[in-house]
Symmetry: C3
Subunit: 120 residues, 3 copies
């Protein structure tokens, strides 16, 4: 079964299939913020999207983080570490890219599990 | 079970595992085309790859779209919206990158579901 | 069930959920190496991560390869082809990006299957 949430003209913000939740790329609403501020907004939006699908940031599987300026990675990491806490961290890839649109400094793509399956 | 289709020297164009279809990155065959034309070619090739695995663009889960010039995003979006239609949209991340090889303007990576599983 | 291996301050290098193994982005430890050398180091590290999760490079599902200089793709491909061998190739997307941190020339993100499921 596939469930889709929060439709925009070009995507669903959240798609769930067979126990995995896929989120679209998330950027900050206020692009005048610095890296720390933008990252906080992005992760707060991700919290909302995960909740929409009945999961949360303790069930993360993967994160792909695009930054327009890798020298700002430490500011992003600071907020990231706070958010993920000390356990159940996902895998992560962080890539410096040319352009995320407007003044976006960071875009994050997340996948998460809905719930634990019976142990095999 | 894993099924693999359309082998090239470096990849399979299509891999299916446990009900999920993964496509490799798709660029246009004719890179002299503009963004609209390249996007049409890319999505047409994706239709063929999805069909190869027994699915189609009403079962999309995720799309990752790389563009070499984000100012051309509206032209890509125009063709994208036509292609996905009004429902069952996947999640999407769109990222401006430095180079997709040759004169490629757009590269799209898709995942899709094979079929609906019994509702839980 | 979700299993997580090799924790760093910001991620787990390996996460397994429901039979799929997700690896974080892998770069070379010695960034003074050329593309061929860095790719060898990356794939060797990936071998270790896959083994940690009880799988290997004959069960690859997808590869996303980020390069800071696409003109060096042939050198990467040479090592890649050796590594994947002639069958059971994953899907692949190769993207030229602005910056992978330090002197990293290549970063690879892999997903793989743990084992074959019963045929349906």
């Amino acid at each position: 079964m596939t469930a889709r949430y929060l439709q925009t003209p070009i995507m669903h913000r959240v798609v769930e299939h067979n126990g995995i939740v896929y989120l679209g790329g998330v950027t900050a609403d206020d692009e005048s913020l610095d890296m720390e501020g933008q990252t906080r907004q992005v992760l707060s939006k991700i919290d909302g999207y995960l909740e929409q699908a009945g999961t949360g940031n303790t069930r993360l599987l993967t994160a792909t983080i695009f930054l327009t300026d890798l020298t700002l990675k430490p500011a992003m990491d600071l907020v990231w570490k706070e958010w993920v806490g000390g356990c159940d961290l996902p895998t992560r890839a962080t890539v410096g890219v040319a352009d995320l649109g407007g003044k976006a400094l960071v875009e994050i793509v997340i996948t998460a599990a809905i719930s634990s399956l019976p142990k095999s």
